[in-house]
Symmetry: D2
Subunit: 91 residues, 4 copies
């Protein structure tokens, strides 16, 4: 993420701070033996929040690095790498 | 999670502590403008770690609450709730 | 699926017939070199339709086989198998 | 998929033909009231097969359409569309 956009960065850090808080909340729920289904619902909420962070990073990566690589005729390797990342998220 | 198993609880807390550390690591990577693909790979690792925590909780829930509910002929509501949780994870 | 519910069975067969038609539609789109994004959207629709079939089967399985196994104190193996199936869908 | 690669097209059609056969197999399993878990495992196999078809199409799309759009400075819209497709597969 060179030439990183400061607004997007701030947005990402805010989201990650919130996710860290959510993880701490889940830890507390486990410590207090709270109802499993409530904990599972919280985990599902963190998954969605993480997916959103992933989407923002992916968008920045495609609009930045991948686009630059393609414009300078070095797209092949960059696209290989991109496809590998996407595969991890869809399996 | 009443009658919670102390070994499983310890295991869960250990995993959640590790996940919290991973989130802090991702925050640092974003702060330092590290390469997006590396950050995306870290997010994918946290997703897997969270899924494992979810699996452990789900197993405890089915073997505990759902089994008890079924044995006392009160399974219907418990199964509805279980299916709803599973749906969140497979969509 | 012993003691299978005839209405659910009919519902499942209807959905599977529709999915088979969707697959043939996708085949035609590939043959005719249609726009990739349109084909990808169709594949995503089939994925959702398959997930719904899976949910219906899973519900029947939990309310039927798993419940019976638990009631006759033979739940352990049945729950192991159930967890394995769920894992396949959440990974 | 204009300028479509004939080898990839043949590969895709082969895979789709196999998936159609798998769906018919699942239909037969439901008709014969076979064991739910076996049917669920078959559905999970079709999901994987569909994901592979999606990956092949996505790769072709990024190497073809998206790359061309970026090279002619018309990448923005093409990338929006790409991100939307990816989102459908990761939610």
């Amino acid at each position: 993420m060179p030439h990183s956009n400061p607004r997007r960065k701030k947005n990402l850090l805010l989201r990650l701070g919130r996710i860290e808080g959510q993880i701490r909340g889940i830890t507390r729920m486990v410590e207090e033996d709270q109802y499993c289904v409530d904990i599972l619902n919280q985990i599902s909420a963190v998954r969605s929040a993480l997916n959103s962070v992933g989407q923002i990073l992916l968008e920045g990566h495609i609009r930045g690095c991948v686009t630059n690589a393609i414009k300078t005729d070095q797209g092949d390797e960059s696209i290989d790498e991109l496809l590998q990342v996407i595969r991890k998220y869809t399996l």
